[in-house]
Symmetry: C2
Amino acid sequence: MDRSSSRGIPQEPAEPPKTAAALVIGDEILSGKVEEANVAALARMLRGLGVLLRRVVVVMDDVETIAREVRELSRTHDWLFTSGGVGPTHDDVTVEAVARAFGVPVVSSAEMEAMLRAHYRERVTEGHLRMALVPQGAALEVTNEITWPTIRLSNTWLLPGIPEVFRMKLPVVATYLAATAAPAFVSRAVYVKMDEGELKPLLDRVVGTFPDVSVGSYPKWFDAAYKTKLTFDGRDDARVLAARDAFLGLLPVGEPQRTE
Amino acid sequence: MDRSSSRGIPQEPAEPPKTAAALVIGDEILSGKVEEANVAALARMLRGLGVLLRRVVVVMDDVETIAREVRELSRTHDWLFTSGGVGPTHDDVTVEAVARAFGVPVVSSAEMEAMLRAHYRERVTEGHLRMALVPQGAALEVTNEITWPTIRLSNTWLLPGIPEVFRMKLPVVATYLAATAAPAFVSRAVYVKMDEGELKPLLDRVVGTFPDVSVGSYPKWFDAAYKTKLTFDGRDDARVLAARDAFLGLLPVGEPQRTE
């Protein structure tokens, strides 16, 4: 992710980064039966595109709860991604909830219905055909490689909960977002043997001097190689490097450290 | 988790289950640098105690955002668990945010300060001592085995973000909650080779007949052994078993299935 080529090159005034929220739908996550596995993959993809994932909410399979959340999150973020609840069974209520949030009816997409009939042929059931239901006005996004449509209504993407299928859809989203995204983040890291208590005064000085660089500190409890990982993130690599180097300059002489 | 001993034994009228929410604090989760690893462990523990985890929210390291969320989630659930942001550095703002949410000041706990001074001795720094800061009025929960205090303010527990330490704290929470919790859930499962489209009419009938049993359906895409896992959950094992058996009775003759 590091891009050192921009060092010293004058930057255009940056527009504010696009923001995103994720809404994970599923009783199975909240009951602990299934581990949530989609947010991290989504977060990394968004980060690579310079989109700031600001909020994640996990809710139960309840239409009104989901609708209320979609209304709020889609209004307050540039993009909203839902995960889960798009299959054909009684607990799959995301399409209905998104439609309700945007005040549109649920309709059958002729295009998706034709695809389902072509796939299942004489085995097709009413349950299969429920997978053609979309909120009215939804766009069906595809790429050359991924031709089964991904449903997008305005700024809200409806992604499936099954992790393998969720991951298959991400390139479709990435292709669409790439056109509108701000420059990607750059990230630097330092590993030290000091603990957070000892590091605090040093970090406070760096944070004060570089308000445009986000400084993170992550203690590792059971690792002999280092005790704390410090991260330096921002949109301007020169500033990120300067913050990291300012921090290195504050370390006691001989403090073991590794940088990346 | 299954408890078949309650079959046929008359149940006392159940009080409604206690509810819980989790608030995960951390830019590192939202940026995709670190995978969230605490919610599933918390969810499983709560489920074993019969507590219903109803909502999870992930937010950035921002005091006002966290405070607003703590205020809302602690008001609308029996229990709230925060994860992360309790270390000594500038991005650890959870104690301050919880205090603000409850309208109390942050104070240094004499008990925790003494423990920190005893541990670090002459190496103790201002950063270390920040770990003694608590919202005024907080209880310090311990067990015989886990003597470093876990901070609880009213119905809100402040848990650390580091997964190994988070897990060490769960027994303290479980001990406290066990006294007040409702009976645990029981869970049954059936694995079939039918897909969700074919299963829908069968499931709809079971859902209609057993409103007190939660029926879940989880397609597995890349497994030769089965295509869909059905789960049947509730507080009364007799009802859960009856719902499962009603479903089995609806399957076509010869449909391969496995139950558990």
